[in-house]
Symmetry: C2
Subunit: 524 residues, 2 copies
């Protein structure tokens, strides 16, 4: 692609064809300017197969909003559309629609209420609500889903890996297995969700973090191909990076060659007054090798050098490595915590691709449409009750219990004020008979989850930056029940409907049933 093509491929035409088909259809039927609400939410927490998330961490909003503020239909886009043909060979787009797009084809009239990035989010709860004229709100769908689904998927995975790593330094290494430039979004999401640093140089600098990395096997190979040894390679490396000397010890044999050579180089560094940084192990039994490496480093008097582990790590592998260290270290008379505390975790492919569950099922659904001064609720019926959307202009309240833990997300209609009620009614989102009453005495706090982030095409406030987003994340994770955070078979966080919303939903479902089959009701 040349730069102009790239601009087209990443601009406002970064959408699916059916959005444009519908936009023109709305224009032709006079519906294009109708004010509507679309909701972004996901249906299921990622299920990785042998393990499953109990919550998600929201990410991707900043890049979406920046994209929205930047893109619009201009001549390059319009001339491409102009040449698109119908099956019968006529122009697919009517000139009047293209003229309309030229004037109105931007997100200048779109507003968004959203959760901030870093927040813990749950299935079926509106995470972002888009409001604006139907045609442009429709065109937005594909790019919004693309931006939010992936970063949320990775931020969620990163939070889990961080949890498994028990606070050990976590590095994102996955660029080589990312989906083309998606690796940049993945690195950002990893930093939001749980990674401390990334190896991806450009995006790391852009986000204000120093990129992290050591050396590869090829460095040792190159030295050896020229008749030198692993030790020669390590020594030369240590001379160039005396204060950042992390040596990859598994090119030949970790225990018999790599670690002994590294220790000898570290001894040279120490003599010169430098503090060796650590070693990296990228193959073999990482738990066993960590215990052995710890033993050898301790014996040589290097008690603060780190051991970086990499190679297909994820939350389950890390959990197993740590468990094995707990079992195996005492056999050698070693305190396992000492081994664990010197670990650094390099996580690549399985974080950036969220292996096991490589997509979040986030969707964008029409929930309300303005008719005159009123918002009319919209619904989509499905034969699967859990897939019937919650209709109408809504608010979500997160309710915290006596222990200051989040206990339920309550989805209400916009005008409802559950915070003013003595008894809060919670209806199961699908099961007719399942409901409960929460007495206000058991509630420590309630908060409304959405905030204005984009008003009529403009950002409402400055982007918070990764560090502030991480604080949001930490606070939310702290207030989440440990059962919900369990890495395997987590407790299900409650998401409930208010009685009013439940009743509206049933009413709409019943009305739809009555008028069905639709074709019998209508004239020929």
């Amino acid at each position: 692609m040349n730069p102009e093509q790239e601009k087209v491929a990443t601009g406002i035409l970064y959408t699916d064809q059916y959005q444009l088909t519908m936009a023109q259809f709305y224009y032709q039927t006079g519906l294009h300017d109708n004010e509507v609400q679309f909701e972004y939410f996901f249906r299921n927490c990622p299920d990785y197969g042998s393990h499953k998330a109990g919550y998600c961490v929201f990410a991707g909003l900043e890049w979406l909003l920046d994209w929205m503020a930047r893109v619009r239909f201009q001549d390059p886009e319009l001339s491409l559309l102009k040449n698109q043909k119908t099956t019968s060979g006529r122009p697919f787009y009517d000139p009047s629609f293209l003229s309309w797009l030229k004037k109105n084809g931007s997100f200048d009239r779109i507003s968004i209420r959203s959760m901030p990035e870093g927040r813990v989010i749950h299935p079926n709860v509106p995470v972002a609500v888009v409001q604006g004229p139907l045609a442009m709100a429709q065109i937005l769908e594909s790019s919004l889903l693309n931006h939010l689904n992936y970063q949320t998927l990775v931020a969620t995975r990163a939070a889990r890996v961080r949890q498994a790593g028990r606070g050990r330094l976590l590095l994102e290494f996955g660029m080589r297995r990312g989906q083309d430039l998606g690796a940049n979004a993945g690195a950002r999401a990893a930093l939001i969700g749980g990674a401390d640093f990334t190896s991806n140089v450009g995006i790391s600098h852009v986000l204000g973090f120093p990129p992290k990395g050591t050396h590869a096997h090829s460095m040792v190979q190159a030295f050896m191909a020229l008749g030198n040894s692993e030790f020669d390679a390590f020594r030369a490396f240590s001379r160039i990076y005396p204060d950042d000397c992390v040596l990859l010890v598994d090119t030949i044999n970790t225990l018999e060659s790599g670690i002994p050579n590294a220790i000898r180089v570290f001894e040279e560094l120490r003599k010169k007054g430098h503090q060796p940084k650590g070693i990296r192990i990228d193959s073999g039994d990482l738990a066993h090798l960590s215990v052995m490496a710890h033993k050898m480093l301790e014996e040589a008097g290097f008690s603060s050098t780190l051991i970086t582990l990499s190679n297909q790590l994820d939350e389950m592998v890390i959990t197993q490595i740590i468990n094995q260290i707990m079992e195996e270290a005492p056999i050698y008379g070693i305190d396992p915590d000492q081994v664990i505390n010197r670990l650094v975790l390099g996580v690549g492919t399985r974080l950036l691709t969220s292996s096991g569950q490589c997509a979040l099922d986030g969707v964008y659904k029409l929930t309300a449409i303005k008719s005159g001064a009123d918002w009319k609720p919209a619904i989509k019926i499905s034969e699967t009750p859990a897939k019937i959307i919650n209709p109408g202009f809504k608010k979500t309240w997160r309710i915290y219990d006596e222990r200051e833990r989040a206990t339920v997300d309550l989805i209400c209609l916009d005008h409802e004020r559950p915070d003013k009620q003595e008894e809060i009614f919670l209806h199961h989102p699908v099961e007719q008979q399942t409901m409960r009453i929460l007495n206000k005495s058991r509630v420590s706090r309630m908060e409304c989850l959405l905030e204005d982030v984009f008003l009529q095409g403009r950002l409402v406030k400055e982007h918070p930056g990764i560090e502030r987003i991480r604080k949001v994340r930490d606070l939310d994770l702290e207030r989440l029940d440990p059962g919900v955070k369990r890495l395997i078979n987590p407790h299900i966080y409650h998401v409930s409907l208010s009685r009013e919303l439940w009743d509206l939903k049933q009413e709409m479902i019943n009305a739809r049933k009555k008028m069905n089959p639709d074709h019998e009701r209508l004239p020929g």
Copy 2:
């Protein structure tokens, strides 16, 4: 990100930190200008869990080469590097290295021999060989892997989905679940591997294809929220798109509402002289619904309207749908082929994310380094024999049997000429005792697989474009044994080493064993 930041994040700093750490190290040790060869190859065909690929389809080269030709270290990049610090707070990069990068920090001295895109490729066979000065060839690694791994992964999956779809029109719909802008690369790779069209508008236009798409449930929902019916929505849609009228029939109830309403609208279209295009079904039992839809459409006299299926399709789901149609159609007295022949397949998430196996394990390994006028082979030993690389400056020959089918890829040293031999010796890549002799009489043709594509920073020829790449793919797939193409448990395609290469590899492994443990050989 603002545009400048985006330029940094997608420019030459789109690499991993350790590449720069090594590049500076090579500069400081005087190795940076050493001519080297790195090979790109993958180790295993994608294993999706319940099914597995027997081959891959190569893609991603064009975008990699365009990126290489465009990027270089310039002031924005250099000033970021200048500010990077070591642990002790000193500049991480030496000014002399930064000056060198300013002059030499591009791929102007890099050359690449590669397979062309669209070719069928196999594990451990060099797909691309990068040659040039060590420092810049090293910096290239991450971006090369990022570009080639993902597109090859998706092109491979698309070829499988196309095979399962028995030549039915295949549409790529996955943008909303792609990794941010990676969705564009995914769309391109899908078009190369097997998709006929994509719904992704921008990239589709850029690649010269009309984007495809119909309408969403939200169109029907919007009409209904305003007091109209599904039929009203369909009818209005048909008036705007009389020649491209594809109606999504599952918003309410596919058989009782959607299809009857669609047929009534199609009847109106027919009266006006238009040919209705088809329906789309996005939920429910797609096989059963296809049979029923076919029956209803036939009864109404619409024998050429298409039935587009979507919803979590992949090669296995498509295979099952087609099998079910074969079983179920005759129960209704319908010829299953008639149903199958009107299907169009919309494949999204599972294609673009290659669900089940969301990364190709492609690697980039140093295989040779020039010392004076000679190429010295480089090797990386591993405790897993299959992971020991094939050393040296090499060529790969693809050998076709009497039936014009590809029978083996033979990896040789560069100077070898197996095409001049009467008996071609084929050694198993790992197993000591496994070898065979192929008599030339059984060989119809041999071809060398790599060609020059990038010479000293310049593209050797024009990009072929998707259509020509598809022809390459079709030709290669035709020449592949049906057993290797089997979707489940495929036959393993043979990749062999020449005797000379096998001997060199063993010699290097043995030499490495002798000098081990390395630390005993070296002075203190």
